[in-house]
Amino acid sequence: MTAMMPTRRETAEPAGHVLSVDWTRCVGHGVCAAAIGERIDLDTWGYPIGVTTRGEGIPDSLVRAAKLAVSTCPAAALRLARADRA
């Protein structure tokens, strides 16, 4: 059981983007954890740990991976926004 909540990886890089999840859409496919494993783990049921409703900061170095997670999510449950527009 992966009951661990995310350990925030502290980084000096500013978070230019924000990745958020719509829990009403997410059904736990788990594709996001493969796309951006640096940030997302899966919980006991397969739901992503490391994203929230309000959004978590994504540094520029992870934006490609985050975009991949958004575009490959079968439930279209993820959203990436510029931090200044989130």
Binding site: W23, T24, T44, W45
Partner: protein, 421 residues
Amino acid sequence: MNRSRAGVVAATGIEPHDLPRDTELLGLPGVAIPGRMPGRLPRELLAPGSLLLAGAEPGRPVSWAEHLLLWGAAPRTEIDCLVELVAAQGVVGAGGAGFPTDRKLASLIGSRVSHVIVNGAEGETASGKDGVLLGHVPHLVLDGAVTAARALGAPRVVVRISADRADLAGSLPRAVAARGEAVPIEVSVGPASFVAGEASAVISSISGGPALPDDLGRPPALPGRLGRRRSRVLLSNAETFARVALAAREIGSQSALASISGAVRRPGVVELPESATLAELVDVGGLVGSPRVLITGGWHGRWVRWDGLAASTGITRASVAALGGRWGAGAFVWLPDDLSAWDALAGITRELADGSAGQCGPCWRGLPALADLIERPAGGGADRTAIEGIMRQVDGRGICAHPSAAVAAVRSALDLIGADR
């Protein structure tokens, strides 16, 4: 007038044998914790001069004529003035969150407000106060809503009640008709479920969607209702509107409205001056036995030890918070001393799990898993580490406050009874 008016006790209650059919038995047979607080009042103690419940008699609403004699017509105020009056009386949201109502009103200045919504759905199981207000002093609640609607220029008022209050569905439209108000007032009946009373669920339902919580953090809006432009809504709890009605008349809210149940001879809704203590609050209904646990703030609230310190605690948000409790919607449940606290927690956790709207995976999968773990025989398998692991996976992971609030409540219970075992 304020202090003297509030210096009064209005208590309503029902005998244990009068408990409604949906009363749930938790734990030992014969010990009843209301599955849902009754909003009807077969009996009440009412001293002259109660504030919100002034003029109320059991089972009979204060009529429009009586209301006008008591309070006069609802004052007309500009929105800036209403904001000041509401701020001066310190009115806060009485549905649970306690957000300052003047700030909520002020945030709508300059917006197009399509609806003023009175939330009387009262999804919180242990709370009965909103039903009592709407059933007994409907015009005070409606005064607050009409005053706000006029000030904000909102074209309609909607009063939301839950489907298990058929009596209100009958009495409220009669009250509305008696007023002959220029602002149309509609009575809307929604499903009787725990989360259906959540603010965004009420708004979603009234706008034609399901009675389920909507996106957190979005400003309240009824999309697509008034043309393409998104209009905003003012939604507040029924008690909050009653207090707005008083504030608009420059009358303070130095009374507390609370629902008392559990080890209480006459569970029900009590109005007491804010200067009273929790001991005085429960004395109105009559404490049964020697309870050791008080649940403050209902099923979403906090468990505290019922001892001398708790008994002498004042019935204000701040005092209850200082005790480690939570005022919430003012629901207080004393756990009967012959009921195992663990069994009570198991029953309440199951109800919280059943209360999930089923929209967000971590909530609808996590809360039943949590209830399963707690239902295991105490001593046998209740594994605090596993319970904590599930709670961490539920906390904060949904679009409404239900999963986080449920976890916080269960955690406070475990902190309290874990130490006792």
